[in-house]
Structure formats: C-alpha cells, structure tokens
C-alpha cells in the first residue's frame, strides 16, 4: 500500500510539473472547464428567476444536486483519466508499455493519468456549489449527515469509475468508440445533473439501472433533502449507493480482466 501511494505521488508530481510548464494556459483551461460546466447552472439560475422551481426543486437544492456530480467527477478524473481515454491507449499501442512494467496493469492505469485541469475545473465548481447551497437546503449537518455525504462522494467516484472501466474494456473489442464516449461522457452526465424525475420512464430506467448515475447524485441528495418526487422510487434506493458502486466495480473489474486476456491473445 505504501509504495502504491508513493507511486501515485511520483506520477502526480510529474503530471503537475508538466502543467506548470504552461502556467497561463493551465489557468485559462481550468477556468474554461469550470465555466463550460457552470453554463447549464447559470442558465438554470436565470430560468428559475422566472419559474421558481423545477419539479419542486428550487435553485439551492438544484445546486446541491449538481455539486455531487461535479465533486465526484473532480475526484474521479484524478484516478480514471487513462480509462476515459483508453481507446487511444489501445489504438497507439501505449498499453504495451504498461504491460512490460512489473506492476498491475489496472494499478498503473488508475495511478498514472490525472487530468488536473478537468479536476480543478470540476472540483472547484462542485465545492463552490456546495458552499453556496449547503446551508440553504434545510440539511442539518451533524456527524451522521456528514458521514452519509462523504460515503456518497466515495460511492459516486466508484460508480463512475466502474462505468468507465466497463467502457474502456469495450474499446478493446471496438477500436472506434468516439461516439459512444461522447454519449456517456457528455450527454448522460448532462442528464444526470437534474432531478431524474423530470424525465420519462425510459431515461429514468437508463440512469437507474443501466448507467446508474442516479446513485451518484439524485438518490444521495434525496436522502438529505427529502423532496416529494422521491415517493415514486423505492425508499431503499437512498441507502444503496455504496453497494451499487462496489458491485458494479467488481463486475466491471472481471469484465476488464476478461477483456485484457482477450487483448493478450489477439493483440491489436
């Protein structure tokens, strides 16, 4: 464990050193990510000046909901960037380099690549939204709720990690996965930001059962906020995010292992 941590810091140091070569660009790019992601919320803020609420969620509650998506993504991208971009690794044969090193392949992939700019952009936005909303959504912050919140963040990171682990394994079979990536990376996450009760049954099921982003933010937020639209879902959905994360990750891990064996037998 100790040398895993020190390996992570060695990678992190070189990654950050790289970004420091282009200081101004790093600042502008991080801000651009922040601003790009914030755009939807700014539009929502203006819209709610006119409409007051969306499915009974006011702007503070909405910001709270959004903060979970952004904070978890900000942490996720520190560990799973290589999996997000895995099809490029396969296409350029970079995976071969990883395979001739005496560490677990997944260990290296998880530790090696952090998208620090995205992390900074998403993370700052998530924390800003949390600070703006946390005391205006009627949550009493005590040991229990704080613990629940922290576990939810960890679960959210794990769920997204599992989704991308799965997705990266798929790119071993299909080299060209750009569109699929766009749908997963952009659109589904965009959907997941809002209370899922605003969607039709099909999209709701997609976000609960197929690509379970609903357990990253909607159900954890519901535990803390108890909005009336929760009544359409089973109560226990609010308690299972960690299990969804762990089980999904285990399934994804075995699929990944299996796919890696396929890679070893077929090459590229």
């Amino acid at each position: 464990m100790k040398d895993i941590v020190s390996l992570f810091f060695a990678y992190a140091k070189s990654g950050i050193k790289t970004r420091f070569q282009y200081k101004l660009d790093s600042v502008v790019s991080s801000f651009a990510v922040f601003f790009r992601e914030a755009a939807g919320i700014i539009a929502m803020y203006f819209a709610l000046l006119k409409f007051d609420t969306i499915n009974n969620w006011n702007i503070n509650e909405l910001m709270f909901l959004f903060s979970l998506i952004f904070i978890t993504y900000g942490i996720f991208i520190v560990f799973f960037m290589a999996l997000r971009d895995f099809s490029d690794w396969i296409k350029h044969g970079d995976i071969d380099r990883v395979m001739v090193r005496p560490r677990g392949i997944l260990t290296q992939l998880v530790l090696c690549g952090a998208d620090w700019l995205a992390s900074l952009g998403h993370g700052t936005l998530g924390i800003t939204l949390f600070i703006l909303s946390a005391n205006n959504v009627g949550v009493e912050w005590n040991a229990a709720t704080i613990l629940y919140y922290v576990i939810s963040i960890a679960s959210g990171v794990l769920i997204q990690g599992a989704v991308f682990l799965f997705f990266s394994a798929i790119s071993i079979y299909f080299i060209e996965t750009q569109s699929l990536k766009e749908i997963m990376y952009w659109n589904l996450r965009k959907f997941a930001g809002y209370p899922i009760s605003i969607y039709n049954k099909f999209i709701q099921s997609l976000l609960i059962f197929v690509v379970p982003f609903a357990f990253v933010n909607y159900f954890p937020a519901q535990f803390l906020l108890r909005k009336p639209d929760m009544s359409t879902y089973p109560e226990w959905f609010m308690y299972i995010s960690p299990f969804v994360g762990i089980i999904l990750y285990i399934i994804a891990y075995f699929f990944w292992k299996f796919s890696m064996r396929y890679y070893k037998s077929t090459g590229n």
Partner: protein, 333 residues
Amino acid sequence: MSKTIIDVQNISKIFKITKRKTGFKGALANIFHPEHEYKKAVNDISFNIKEGEMVGFIGPNGAGKSTTVKMLSGILYPDSGNINISGYIPHKQRKEYVANIGVVFGQKSQISWDLSPLDSYEVIKHIYKIPDKKYKENIERFTELLDMRKFINQPVRQLSLGQRMRADIAAALLHSPKIVFFDEPTIGIDVVGKEKIRSFIKTLNKTDNITMIFTTHDMQDIEKTCERLIIIDDGKKLYDGSLDAIKSNYVSSRIIEAEFEQLPEKIDIPYVTVSDVDKNRMKKVITFDTGKTSINSLMSTLLNNYSIKDISVKEPEIDAIISDIYQGKIIVH
C-alpha cells in the same frame, strides 16, 4: 560456457482477421455476420539464446518478428509452444517476469515530452521500486556512457531524436534488467547518433553481460553489434546463425573492383562478368563465382595481364544478401 537464458520451443500464433466488406449491406454484415480468416503470424518457431548473447531479429514487415518479440516480452501469449525465459513463463508470470527485462520501443518513447529525462526517471524509479543507491549509481553511469550530461535536465521536446533515444535507452536500463529488447532503436536517427547508440549497446553487452535482442530494419545495426542473426519471414524461422557464416557459406558470387591505368580493349577471362562503375570508365567491377574461379587465380590473371592502378576485393553487401534470402534466391537452412 554460459547457460541458456531464453528457451523458445515451437511457438505459434494465429490471428483471426475480420474481413471488411464495403457498402451499406457490407457494413451491416460486418456487424451481424462478420467473416473471419486466419493468419499464422508465427509458425512453429524455436530457438535458444544464451546469457550475454546479442541476437538480431530481422525480417520484412509483417514477417512475424514483432509478434515474436511481443510474446517474448509477455504482451501476447502463444497459441501453442513454450517460452521459458530465465525460469519464467512470460505471459503467465507477467509481473515477476518483466521486472527482469527492459524494453526499448524505437517509435514509442517512455519519457514525457514536456519533462526532462531526469523527471521521467524519477517516476520509473517508483514503478520498478529501484533502491536509492542503485538508482543513483545507474543514473551516474548511464549519463556518462550515453553522454547525456548536457541534456539530462532539459525538456525532452528540445532534444534531438538521437538524444531522445539515448535518454529512452537509459530509461529502460535503470532497473538493471538481465534481458533487454530493442525494437527498432535507431529508426530515424542520423549516422553519428546511430553510431553512439550502437557502441553503447555493445559496451553494455560486454561489461554487464546483459542478454540483448534487437529487431531492426537497418542491417548496419546488426552488422555492427550482433554476432548472431535470426531471420524470420512469413512466420517461419529462415536462418539462425552468424552473419559471417551467411556470407561465407551462402554467397558464392564475389566482386573485385579494379582501376586500370590504361583501358584494355576487352577483358576476356572465363566465368567473369565485367561492368562499368558510374561514369569513371577507368574503373570496372568484376563479378565472379567462387565455385568456378578462385580469388587468387583471378587476381594474378588480372595483375599479370593488365596495367592496374588499384584493385580491391569487396565484401558482399549484406542488404543485398538479405533481400536475396527473402526472395528465395538464396536458400539457407
């Protein structure tokens, strides 16, 4: 006599290739009823390599040499046959095994573009868990041997291709591997740079007794570094032996270059063909077959009967020999 370190027995690798059909119907068919064909990339290859040996792998593109090297380095596993390297089965004991090898990919650098070589070495130190003392010693030594002091702290993007490759070679050696694979290590590098790399590799092979395997397109690499050569074509091993043996055993035609003081009207010697060298009409190339004429008798015939300013016997061009082997003009075994 040193012991065998790489033992490869009857390995084969078959790839399934999906036939691509065109057109809209074809695209649908590709998705629902893909048709496959099978290609034997490596076909029953065996060889042994001894500790400290330096072996060149050559073969035309798609011959199966990079597939072989991938199997040796544990990236691919063979469909049949056995590989035992230093007591490990590469594809089964990947992690333990690769701690003992170094791989230099000529086309894929392992040092970051925006950082200095030294920054990248720090990360490699952690990946391989290299002890501080050994790490410092190796850095010191390779900096010296590879003449890297000038640029070891400069961002890689500012280095020449040759410098970058030297930095890359050092990166693959930091953990003191017993076996090193070089995949096209001199590709795209200028003559001086190539020379530096070759002499370093040769020195290291001698002093550290590291076993080295080379794949390359550049015959000069092989000629200047390797004593042993394995030729692979169409998935099969065509030749395994020394470079000199190819020259002396399989090449019967030789060339003498002669510069005349006075141009004879006709050079008439049996079993010999004469041709011009470029524009210099005083110079002639005389090709003959060692099976029919001996060098000695030909030389004396020439020197006795013609006024000759300069004369030399040319070694056969290795590139030409290899290309003859690929084309089946020379049969080796």
